[in-house]
Symmetry: C2
DNA sequence: TCTAACAATTAGGAGTGCTAATTAAATGCC
DNA sequence: GGCATTTAATTAGCACTCCTAATTGTTAGA
């Protein structure tokens, strides 16, 4: 194994994940062109659509990982395109964002975006795929714990949430996505990997 | 955001990778602020620095996954900051880009960027880490074959790479460049000694 | 030679992202 | 109750990203 530079396994993985992220971004530009959306707009649309009761602008900004003014600007573009509606809430400082019917349609089109990536993943042998999922899940869990990723939507309505699986334990609940137990103090209000539980 | 849609392992991985990519991008903005670089500039700097003989603008654009005009604009900013030098080559249409001394210094600072991600990766058990590296490598190779990514300098596409030469051994692969055996944990995604294999 | 292909740039336009400052509404506290 | 603080969102101003289309040289091919 040649090396003058740092070459730890860890570093190679970091580099690889960064490359995949880059590929996703540049792919998003192309896919977005078809719908007239930029990557950020698409992501905002998805986040808003994922919140049935609407989202505030600040929460959206946190979810996108950008500043409030940036989010405001993006929302402005989406409103101008009639994809998103703004409503004033009980707290009359705040805005509540929801999708319009048209926005709903477009958001559905956005859903399958990482499809080309999934093709690549699907080409893996089953064993490697499982290992990859475990690794990615754990990385995400660590990032959330470090605060690098914004938690979204609440566990209580999440299909991955298994309350009191370990009754009596200090960490009685179980999250199936990151495959780890956690306690009441770890309950998420807004988890990016949230998926609505079946009714 | 997947909802009642397919929840396959594959889709989970796709979503997870996208999420990690988002985290990386927003982190890059913060880290970049310290050096006065945007994420794209940092990436361009790294790519130029990785090519000892210099790169052309078109190659750079492909590597960044953007159009030539976008790359041109980014390079203009780097040249203005005295981090990159442009030279006219034998082909007088083409430009050859190299780092200035100052650019070299800054590029070194950029190298450790995904550090916060690496912390997360380092927290994995060794087995999972190796499996993650193998999975990430294969995903990248598939993306390259699909044309979604510009060819990277990884073992899987290297002429010196002899996979499973010592099948059954703990270090089954062989690198012909350093003439030594190595295992999955030694797989490179960005190797300075990479030479593309014949098609 | 003359045309096609190619490398890079310019022009023009929408969007992203930042910090700092502003407006408006809700809270807190004496 | 009243006034200072905090909070939500926006505006202003700036640099950069990214695109397509058109332009200017330069090289290579029929």
């Amino acid at each position: 194994m040649p090396s003058r530079k740092s070459t730890s396994e860890t570093r190679q993985i970091g580099t690889g994940l960064a490359r995949i992220g880059d590929a996703l971004r540049s792919q998003a530009w192309q896919q977005g062109a078809e719908l007239g959306l930029t990557p950020t707009q698409a992501r905002a649309l998805a986040l808003i659509g994922a919140s049935p009761d609407g989202v505030g602008l600040t929460a959206l900004a946190r979810g996108l990982g950008v500043s409030a003014p940036s989010a405001s600007e993006t929302v402005k573009a989406l409103v101008a395109r009639n994809l998103v509606a703004k409503v004033r809430g009980t707290d009359r400082r705040a805005t509540i964002l929801t999708l319009t019917d048209e926005g709903e349609t477009v958001a559905n089109g956005v859903e399958g975006w990482p499809g080309f990536l999934e093709d690549a993943v699907a080409a893996l042998p089953a064993d490697d795929r499982t290992a990859l999922l475990r690794g990615v899940s754990q990385v995400i869990r660590t990032l959330q714990e470090q605060g690098g990723i914004d938690p979204q939507r609440q566990c209580l309505t999440c299909r991955y949430f298994q309350p009191n699986r370990y009754a009596g334990s200090a960490r009685p609940h179980h999250c199936g996505f990151v495959d780890a137990p956690f306690g009441d103090s770890g309950l998420r209000i807004d988890c990016p990997d949230h998926e609505a539980a079946a009714v």
